[in-house]
Structure formats: structure tokens, C-alpha cells
Amino acid sequence: MDFRDTPEEAAFRAEVRAWLEANGQKRSRPDEVFGEGLDEAARLAAAKAWQAKKAAAGYAAITWPKAAGGRGGTAMQQVIYQQEEAAFVVPGMIFEISIGMGLPTVMTWAAPELKARFLRPGLAGEEIWCQLFSEPGAGSDTGGVRTRAVREGDEWVVNGQKVWTSGAHFCDYGILLTRTDWDKPKQEGLTMFIVDMKAPGVEVRPIHQMSGDSEFNEVFFTDVRIPDAYRLGPECGGWKVMLSTLMQERLSVGGNLPTDLHAHLIALARKCAWDARPAIEDDRVRARIADAYLQQKGVELVIARGLTAISKGKAPGPEMSITKLVAAKAMQDIAAFALELAGPEGLIGYEALGGDWRYMQRLWLGAPGARIAGGTDEILKNVIAERVLGLPGEIRTDRKVPFRELEHG
């Protein structure tokens, strides 16, 4: 057992650090955000430029095979890169779905010509991908999708509606889960496609989120034509394709928990007063700082354990679901406590209260989404209970029934 870098890891870290210092911009404060002050178009252009640079240097998708434009590196190297990159101002929430979910699904399931067509531009940030699974009647119950794809010769004609699609308003392509057979039980009648988001009949309508932002959207499909060559996996094999994507998603959200939230708490607690003393001296505050560390460091260590398993040739299993479960709730709890530090004044927006508060206020407004996206807390607990602990599955009345006979809501 050893937590330190091996000589190879240390060499890689040094290489990454040197590259970042030569090409990136170091954060001036811990909570500096990429593209502050830019409008969306300019921010997107800057993000694409950064992604292209990263790809050219072989850092955009370190674990991808070389043939796909990746580096053929290890998961450990990927983590080292992320640790080092955390000190720099880099774009967030733009390429995650492309690199983490969309393109890996293409890599696993698409025909060779399609891989050649899509992987490199995707990696270089020239094309951005979204994930079109959820619908108004199918969220946790992903198998309930009703967006219909009907075959016409070499093409499929798609009609229906998706919802909560992150980034759809700036995306070029998406992986789309559709229903192609209504007479089979729900999970057996699904088929996955690549869809061109600029194709005629695709309409994206941003949704105004509780945070005030519009990161996700409704997407409507009216007679959208998709070539059969854009099918991912077999006809009616979409469920399996989707599962391979979702496993990636749960891992990636857990990996996104910042590991220094306790340090942000400490900084804020130094500035606030409780009973006329610095809050940092109050034992209740100190206890919460300790708990914040326990959760963040715990998630980091669970991931480290998973990486060790990978490096020994084992696959980390559904146990890894705990990372997203713990991380998302930790963000919510830690941010809420940070706001409480300031008492009634903590309710004042950071625009008036001070930039120090931006990070925690934004985290607090974003955290409810993190607990829902990629599987709600409840669904993740079901995964742990059933797939890790071996407890019985939920009672399902919809398993064997043809989809068209099911009730929907």
C-alpha cells in the first residue's frame, strides 16, 4: 500500500504540470470561473480552443486508445491530470458528456466508419455531444421512453420529446434513445441512435432552472430523419447500450466533487463572527469542517481504491455508485452550512455580499441537480441494495407486458 506517486506517476505529473503552466492560466483565486465576463458565444469559442489544445497534446481523453485519438494512458494518469488541472481556469460542463458518455458509447457500439467520422472531431472539441435519454414520462424509469423511431428503408423517422437534456442548445450531436417496437416489453423495444442536433425537425427549447441558469433543455423531434448507419448497437438492443453509458455517468459525477470544500469553509469561517468570536473558533463550526473533509476525502479514496482495482486488471463494480451518492449530498450539505455561517446575511446574494460567497452560493443552487442527474439518490440506493448487497429487486408489474399496454404518467 502506498499513496505516493510511483516514479512513472511522478514523471507524468511533472510533464502535465509543465504543459499546463506553459499553456493554461492559473487561478487567481480558488473560485475563479472559466469565461467570467464573456458572453456565451465567446465562452464557447474559448472553451473549444482550449479543448483543441488539450487534444493536440494528448490530454483530452488520456485513457482512450491511441487509434481513437486518445493517449492510451491509464486511469491513474487521467486522475493525475485532473488533480493538476484543478489549479487552472478551465471550462467546465461543456465537454463532459462528449468525452465521458457520448463518444465512449460511439466507440463501443458504432461501426468503424462512424468512429472514424466522429471520435477525433469530438475529442478536439469541434463537435459537442449531448445525451437524450430522459423524457417527461421516463426519468428514473428510463425504460419508459416513448420517442418513436420508425424505419423507412435505410432511414428512421423520429417523433417525440426529450427533456432535461444538458447542453442541447450548443450541441452538435447526441445519443438518442428511442422506442422502435411497442409490442415488446418496455426494455426490449428500445434502440439507440446518433442524432444530428442541427437536422431539420429538431427543436431545442432551454429550460429555466432553479439556479437561474439554463444548462438543460427540452428537445422536440418532428419527422427527424436518421440514417440507419447512425444506429448504435442492434435494433431493439438500446437498453444494453444505455446501461453502458449510465455506468460511466455515475462514476464521472462522483469524480467531480471538489476536494477542497473544507478549505473554502475554513476561509469563510475565519471571516464570520459567532457570538462575537470568529466562527472558526466555534466547536460546532469546527465539527462541520471535519465532516466536510470526511465526505470529500472519502469519495476521493473510494475512487483511489477503484483505480487500484483497475490497475490490477479488475473492474470496479456497482460499489462505485457510492461516490455520486455521497458527493452530491456532500455538496449540498457543505454549501448550506457555508451559507449559515453568515447568519441572516448569508441570504444576501454574492453580487452584493461579496465575491467570496459566489462559489458556495452557486454550489448550493446547483447541488439539487447533482442529486438528481445521472440517477437520483433513491435510484442509487436501489443499485447498492440490489447489486451490491443482493437484496430483492423492486416489485415490477411492467416486466413482461407489451409496452403499448402499460400505463404512463
Partner: protein
């Protein structure tokens, strides 16, 4: 980075697990619980003979000279099997204190006896929390007078390491003027005894600073106890899961109710977080890393929480039968409390963790 135990270490763990499954049975633990034995003699003998208990004592002092990582895995199995033996008193605390603070002569004299099981040692290194004023223990000249009010394994110990003011003192309990009174306790599987001294011969452990040594020994013990706690928590969760698959209510296995599934998923999550913190602590302990105080406190807090929650909910999920003397649920309930307070509460350790984090952020 390599965040796992080696195959050899796992082999040792398997051997200990097999031995304990045979000897540290519910019946053996209940012998102690019900006052028919002071500890599980057979279990203790086996742990000593395998060299498992003395894994971290260097060979030159009669130990197995393996290391702390090995001792951590032994501790995890000890927790799984609720061992009723003086492992923590002798090996996590007393032997460690002597190793770190003793003179060469003291080490040569006492450590082989502890390692070989000839002698049980116990220790009280001081705690932040207390209810009553500290019992008046006075070390003057070369003798000790006063009372140490509640020592685990004090009834069977032949040696004690005690914190007296700013000193660590070594007392041979075979010496003159020692008397003992059993003290009732919430976890009778780990009996407590008051030791009274009347001009009993004693000697200092000559380390430079008692407080520093005590803190270091307690950090190590926190990591080792975290492994016991994780072992115990994992065991009671397994038992609860199994029971929930057998027991039926409303025409279903109770384990199919989502309220129970989610509770077990939460316990599992707490245990896995505690486990990785314990591993991190094990690494810090075995490599003497500067992270030790932080890692040990994190392991202590998360493992205490995990075991307490697993034990509390374990009873709840068993329903009425979980509250009976015959079921082992209460053994874990008691043991979780014992391990969680033995070297200071979760809250005291959380405060220590916060101190470390704040120092680091300065």
C-alpha cells in the same frame, strides 16, 4: 499509488479469519459477557501463537516483525468476530507506548513477554473528556499511589502503562500494594477493572515528552480500532442483510421493502467510507507519514459513526428478536459503544481532525 493490501497480507487475514470463525464463536464471547470467563483464552492463545497479535512488534523484541498493515487486517478480523481478548490493551496501546517511549532495557524486558502472551498489558494514556475529577494518581520517587478507575483488561493484566501528569509510568502489577476491583460496564465482553496502588514500585518511560508520545500512540490505536470497527460493522450488516432475506412480512421478504433496502445501502455507504479512511490511516501509520494525525482522526470518526449506525440499525431491522439476549445484535451494539469511546469519543476526535485541517489551511 497502490491503495490495497498485498496478497501475502490477505493470506494472513484469511488465516486469522478462519481461526477466529472456529474459536471466537458467539458462545465463546458470551462466556465473557456473562462473567464466566475474563477473556476468550483459546482465541488469545491462537492469536499469540500465529504471531498475529504481535505483527507490529519488531523481531528483536520477540514480535513477528511484520508491520502495521498486517496488524490492521488482524484488527479487522478481530472486529468481525467480536473477539473478547486484550488485543487493544496489550498491542495497540501498552506495547506501542513502551516501543516509542521506553528505554532499551524496558523494551528488552517487557516487549518479549507481551509479544509471547506471557503477560497482558493495559494502558491509560489520558483522554480529553471526563465526568469526574481525575483520580489522584501520584508518582513520587519510584512509587505510585492512587487509583486508576476503569482499565480495560485491568483484571488480567500483569503490567500497566499510565499517564500520570506529564509522565508515562510503567507499573508491574505483580508488585507490592496493588489491588483490583471489578467495575460494571456497558460492554461486559470487555471487562473494566479499577486498579489501586499503594506505594507500588513504578518507573518512568523516559521519552522526551509524554504528551507527544501519548498522542502518537493514540493515533496508531485510532487506526487499528477503526479496522476493528469496520470489521464489526461489516459483519452486523451482513447478518442484517441475511435476516432480511429470511424474514417475511406482508407476504414479502422484508429485505424487499425499499425503506429497509435504502437503510442498508446507507449503512453500506458509511462502512465503505470508513473503510477507505481506515486504509488511508493504515498507510499513514505504516509509512510514518506526516498525514498520520489527520488520517487517524478521520479513520476514527468515520469508523465510530459507521459501527454505531450499523449496530443501532441492525437491531431495528431485526425487529423484536433483535432486542433479545439470545441474538448477537446487542453484542455489536455494546462493542460499537466500547470501541467508540475507548480512546475518546467521536466528537473529541472530530475536534482533533478540525484542528489539523485548520492548521493545514493556515
Amino acid at each position: 499509488m497502490n491503495f490495497d493490501f498485498s496478497d501475502d497480507q490477505r493470506l494472513l487475514q484469511d488465516a486469522v479469519r478462519t481461526m477466529l470463525a472456529d474459536t471466537s464463536t458467539s458462545q465463546a464471547v458470551r462466556e465473557v459477557l456473562e462473567g464466566r470467563a475474563s477473556h476468550s483464552e483459546a482465541v488469545w492463545r491462537n492469536l499469540i501463537e500465529m504471531g498475529a497479535a504481535a505483527a507490529a512488534i519488531p523481531e528483536q523484541y520477540g514480535g513477528a516483525g511484520l508491520g502495521y498493515l498486517e496488524l490492521c487486517l488482524v484488527a479487522e478480523e478481530a472486529g468481525r468476530h467480536l473477539v473478547a481478548v486484550p488485543l487493544s490493551s496489550s498491542f495497540y496501546l501498552a506495547a506501542e507506548a513502551i516501543l516509542r517511549a521506553g528505554s532499551e532495557a524496558q523494551k528488552q524486558h517487557w516487549l518479549p513477554k507481551i509479544a509471547g502472551g506471557e503477560l497482558v498489558a493495559t494502558a491509560a494514556l489520558g483522554s480529553r473528556e471526563r465526568y469526574r475529577a481525575p483520580a489522584p494518581l501520584a508518582f513520587e520517587g519510584a512509587t505510585l499511589t492512587g487509583t486508576s478507575p476503569a482499565l480495560v483488561d485491568g483484571g488480567i493484566a500483569g503490567l500497566a502503562v499510565l499517564r500520570v501528569a506529564d509522565e508515562l509510568v510503567l507499573v508491574d502489577l505483580a508488585g507490592a500494594g496493588v489491588s483490583r476491583t471489578p467495575v460494571p460496564t456497558l460492554d461486559p465482553t470487555r471487562p473494566l477493572t479499577a486498579l489501586h496502588f499503594d506505594h507500588t514500585p513504578a518507573e518512568r518511560l523516559p521519552a522526551a515528552e509524554a504528551a507527544t508520545v501519548a498522542a502518537r500512540v493514540l493515533d496508531g490505536a485510532a487506526v487499528l480500532l477503526a479496522f476493528e470497527q469496520v470489521g464489526g460493522a461489516a459483519r452486523i450488516l451482513e447478518a442484517t442483510r441475511d435476516y432480511s432475506l429470511e424474514r417475511k412480512a406482508f407476504g414479502r421478504q422484508i429485505g424487499s421493502f425499499q425503506a429497509l433496502k435504502h437503510k442498508m445501502a446507507e449503512i453500506y455507504t458509511a462502512i465503505e467510507l470508513a473503510r477507505v479512511h481506515a486504509y488511508y490511516g493504515a498507510w499513514a501509520l505504516s509509512s510514518d507519514a506526516p498525514e498520520l494525525p489527520k488520517a487517524a482522526a478521520a479513520a476514527r470518526v468515520s469508523a465510530t459513526r459507521a459501527y454505531v449506525v450499523a449496530a443501532e440499525e441492525g437491531i431495528e431491522l431485526h425487529g423484536g428478536i433483535g432486542f433479545t439476549w439470545e441474538m448477537d445484535c446487542h453484542l455489536h451494539y455494546r462493542r460499537a459503544r466500547h470501541l467508540g469511546q475507548l480512546i475518546g469519543s467521536e466528537h473529541a476526535w472530530r475536534a482533533r481532525l478540525a484542528d489539523e485541517l485548520i492548521k493545514e489551511a493556515a
